[in-house]
């Protein structure tokens, strides 16, 4: 059973609060550096695309927002499964904290996609598979937030949300392969896990910077949300009372 000790440790809100506090600067600083640096690089220094001109520069915010919106959903669904299977409260907190961040990033992906579509395709919006499935992702995030607020009982709400999160994960592969399975205006993936990417290295490097930066930013904000929720839920415990009174006396 010793192998399971890490699992119980991770499930302890107190341990997680202390551990995540040490982790925060390691997420925040590189997130900001990579996002700001990658955006300046992509906006001002990368040559224009030979087909799309300068509108392609929206890629440096559109792709990271969309990728992390999908990655965030998978993380949310994994947390939901952990909560349902092992009744881990911390997993429910992670799931509920990920939803508003994912919703914000999905909104950004949709909005920047529409703005990119106008000069490139000549239209803000088409009801094709990629864009519609990302819109469904947005509604799944919003639906989870609304579902949680509809319940009086927190535990019942978290369980219902966990089921919704797990069922909704079927949408993720649909989004990813939608551009291959159906006819779409949306271009196929430029970065491939297997084989050579169809994007020039000079354009790819700043994209990798903003993509990594966005993942770190997600992790940073997620930890901040989770920590606030832990404080609120554990406000009557001794460790939270002692932690905050020692922080106040230290000021």
């Amino acid at each position: 059973m010793a192998n399971w000790q890490w699992f119980h440790k991770w499930g302890s809100p107190r341990w997680f609060y202390q551990f995540s506090g040490r982790l925060l600067p390691w997420l925040a600083v590189p997130a900001l550096l990579l996002l700001i640096g990658g955006c300046i690089w992509g906006l001002a220094f990368v040559p224009a695309d030979f087909k799309q001109g300068n509108s392609f520069r929206i890629i440096y915010i559109h792709v990271p927002a969309a990728a992390v919106a999908m990655g965030g959903y998978v993380l949310m669904a994994v947390a939901a499964a952990v909560h349902l299977i092992w009744r881990m409260k911390l997993a429910a907190i992670v799931m509920l904290s990920a939803a508003p961040i994912g919703a914000a990033l999905t909104f950004l992906a949709l909005l920047t996609g529409a703005v990119w579509g106008k000069p490139t395709w000549g239209t803000w919006w088409v009801w094709d598979a990629r864009i519609t499935s990302v819109l469904i992702l947005f509604f799944l995030y919003l639906g989870l937030i609304a579902l949680y607020q509809a319940f009086e009982n927190r535990d019942a709400a978290a369980r219902a949300c966990a089921v919704l999160a797990i069922v909704g994960v079927v949408n993720i592969p649909i989004i990813y392969w939608s551009v291959e399975w159906w006819y779409s205006l949306h271009q196929p993936a430029s970065i491939k896990f297997i084989g050579e990417s169809s994007i020039h290295p000079s354009m790819l490097r700043p994209l990798m910077a903003t993509l990594t930066g966005m993942y770190l930013f997600f992790g940073w904000v997620l930890l901040l949300f989770v920590r606030a929720d832990i404080l609120e839920r554990e406000r009557n415990t001794r460790w939270v009372q002692e932690l905050l009174s020692s922080e106040r006396s230290g000021e």
Partner: protein, 62 residues
């Protein structure tokens, strides 16, 4: 820099409004997430402080 002047960077051969709008809104949304995180932290701390006050009041009365 790829562009010859700041004016060209701003204009981006006509694509400037699309590109700068996208990055502007994205900056606002990301800052908004950080502000929301701060709001959640402050409201949680206020609840912790309220719980502490309640506990002190209870120990005084008992």
């Amino acid at each position: 820099m790829f562009f010859a002047s700041v004016g060209e960077l701003w204009n981006m051969a006509g694509h400037g409004p699309y590109v700068w709008f996208s990055f502007g809104v994205s900056t606002l949304v990301l800052i908004g997430l950080l502000l929301e995180a701060r709001r959640r932290d402050r409201s949680a701390r206020a609840l912790v402080a309220a719980a502490a006050r309640r506990r002190r009041a209870e120990t005084h009365t008992s």
